[in-house]
Every structure is written in C-alpha cells, then in structure tokens.
Symmetry: C2
Subunit: 240 residues, 2 copies
C-alpha cells in the first residue's frame, strides 16, 4: 500500500514560509513512503468526504447571498464542483465496501463546528473563507489521500484542481478593487483563518503525531501549505 509522507526533515526555519511563498512548488503533491505513521484510509476518506460536503454547504450559502446574478450563478457553479469532489470521495468509500454516511458520521460535529468558526461576520468574510480555508484543507487532504488510495492520485488531483478558485477570486477581487478598506479587513481575516484551519487539518493525523516531536516533523508540510496560502492571498491582492 502506498503511504504518504507528511513529515520529513525540518524546513528552512522561521522565515521559510515567507521566503518560499512566491515560488512555485516543484510538485503539487509530495508522495513518498511514510514509515512512521499509518493512516486509516476509511477514516481519512470519511473525514475528507464530509469536509467537501461542508465546503459545498458554505459556498452554496455564499452563492445564495451574492449581491449580483452573475456572482450567484458563478458561485453556484463552483459549489457544484465541490459536490462532485464529495461524490468522488463517497465513491472511493463505496468501492471499499463502506457505507459512506457511517464513515462520515464521526466527523460531522467537529467539522460543522469548525466551519461555523470560519463562517465570518459577513458575506465577504464567508466567501474569503471558502477560498482560503478550502484551499488549505484541500492541499492537506490531497497529500494524505494521494498516498492511501489506489486511485489516490486522481482523487488528489480532483481536490487540488482549479475547482472554485476562478469564480471566487473573480467575485472577491472586484469587491476589493472597489473598496480598499475591504481589502485590509479581509487581509486580517485571511491571517486569522490559518490557525484554526491548520488545527482542523491536523485532526486528520493520528494522535501519535500530534505531539511536540510530531510538530517538528510536520513542519515542512506546513511550510508548503503556508506558501500556497500566501499565493492565494496574493491572488486577492492581500498581504499574508
């Protein structure tokens, strides 16, 4: 069975994320053998499937509240693509002979709570979360899933593909261009999201990894995730 490396040598240090943030990573998905952690594929897929459903929920809500018809349609289309990812993960669970809802069930309450904390105080914050939180979680889950699933590469590609970012960036950039104060408020919001989101992501890792020693080993992956996050902030014209 292929496993995924989520740990490795320590990164370049505290300035690593910022100094690497504008360069393109060599490979979108870091897939090497993982010797020290065994991920339960059903738990991982169940969690990832429910996270996609929660992302769909958040984005379809943002679509509903979009002020323009154009925005509504574009964001609803984008939400539809999250639903396709959810279905693909449900399909992977079914191929393993698992009842998808049973695999997702243990993660519903904590995932709903997390998405509530990042739902924002207004529509622009909610939509910014749909872009930044989803980006972070998808980057993270795609790394894990690429290793544990027979068709993991395809699933991972589905998660990291440009599913929703075009529409969201289009809608948000227009709003930010029209209101510079909005830009600085969303920059603050974008930075605030990171901590909670990484905690949510880490919950997918076994307990044994969530220790101080584990923290050090996971750092290179976090560095990559932060670099991608910074690129997303850049696309919105926000300082990470």
């Amino acid at each position: 069975m292929l496993l995924v490396r989520v740990f490795g040598r320590r990164g370049a240090g505290a300035d690593g994320p910022r100094s690497r943030s504008r360069t393109k990573p060599e490979l979108p998905i870091d897939r090497v053998a993982l010797h020290d952690v065994d991920l339960d594929p059903v738990a991982l897929l169940g969690r990832a499937a429910y996270v996609q459903l929660a992302q769909f929920t958040a984005l379809s809500r943002a679509a509903a509240e979009a002020p323009s018809v154009d925005g509504k349609g574009a964001l609803a289309d984008a939400a539809g693509r999250l639903l396709e990812s959810h279905r693909a993960l449900v399909g992977a669970l079914q191929r393993r002979g698992v009842v998808p809802s049973e695999a997702m069930h243990p993660y519903v309450a904590s995932t709903d709570r997390f998405f509530q904390t990042v739902s924002g105080a207004n529509w622009h914050e909610a939509l910014t979360s749909c872009y930044l939180v989803d980006g972070l979680l998808d980057d993270f889950y795609s790394r894990l899933i690429a290793g544990v699933e027979p068709d993991g590469r395809e699933l991972a590609a589905l998660l990291t593909g440009p599913r929703t970012s075009g529409e969201i960036v289009g809608v948000l950039s227009a709003a930010i261009a029209a209101d510079t104060r909005l830009g600085s408020r969303l920059a603050v919001w974008g930075r605030r999201l990171v901590g909670d989101t990484l905690l949510c992501a880490r919950a997918a890792l076994p307990e044994t990894v969530r220790t101080d020693a584990g923290e050090a080993r996971i750092e290179p992956v976090l560095t990559e995730l932060m670099a991608e996050h910074t690129r997303r902030m850049d696309r919105l014209g926000l300082t990470a």
Copy 2:
C-alpha cells in the same frame, strides 16, 4: 416556431382537479400550436433559469440543515441536479447569443421574494416546499419551454425528470412516518403553497393572459398541474 398551448377548452368543472387527481395524464407535456399568445423565449428562459437557481439555493440550504449525514448527502446530490438544469437553461440562453445574467436579472427580486414566502417556518416545511413548489413550477415551465425552444423537448424533459423527488420523498416520508402530527401540519402547508406558487407561475405569462378571460382559458393547464400536485402529496402520504 413551435409554440405551446397553455390554454384550451374549459375543464370538467369545479370537481375536475379532484376527480382527475389519481389518474395518470396521457402526455407529460401538452404541446400544440398556440395561436393567441406569443411568449418571449429569452424572457421565459431567463425566468426559468433563475427559478432553477433559486430552487438550488433552497434545496442546498435544506441539505445543510438536514439532521442526518445520509439526508445531507442525498439532498445535496439532489440540489446538484437542480444546478445542472440551471446550467442547461443558461446554455440555451447562450446559444441565443444572450448574456444569461442579463436575461435572469429582471426576475431576481420577484423570484427571491416568492421563495422567501414559501421557505417555511422550519426545516420540514422548507423541504416540503422544495418538493411541492419545485414540482409545480417545473411542470409549468416545462410546458412553456417545450414549445418555444428548438431543443425544448430535451430541456422540458430535464425539468420534469425525477431529479430531486426520490431523495426528498425518502427523507420526508421517514420523518412523517415517525410523527403523525408532522404529517397533518405538512398537509396544511402543502395546501397553502399552491396559491402563491400558481401566482408565481402565472407571472411568466403575458399580461394579456392574466385577465378573467385568460383565467378561464388557462384552467385546463391548472387542472393538470393540480393533479400532479395531488400525486406528489399522495407520495408523501398527505391529503391534498
């Protein structure tokens, strides 16, 4: 150009809808030449496209609030199919060289207001609306669209296909079976929805038809719509 008959001879009288309600109509879509009313295809498609988007919004919201993971997933899937119908109508607008958002724009405020009035006081009412209101509107729009579009038959079939009913009926029937008082409350709600929904549907017809004389001529179509509505109530075990 094909046109659709939405008017015709008067029906069998006041007891027509009830007495016909358990029989299957001969044809799902009544397509004959319409001599006295000319529908603007772009207006019709724009309105129908936005109605589908509003239905998607309502159902994805109901999915988000579903108490079980099974229900959430099933209703989100169903919502995804409404989005596909929306896209198909947007495609029809594009083939006519029209900007879809411009074609939808005139109908946004009134459609949003209507969906607000049928959104219900709780989740069960909201979900019942997703089934009954969508059913009535889709039956109505499919009759109109089948006549005005070159590929109208396919679009109409898309609207009247079993897109969402399986999931919604499954979720609602289980809830009604577990709580008989819920059933009688939803029966009242189901009857209350009809008037507002038919008003919303009629708004798609030209002003000239929305007169007392027009009322009389439209009655056979309303009779058919009511028969379908009664069948949907039946499927939920509710008295129409």
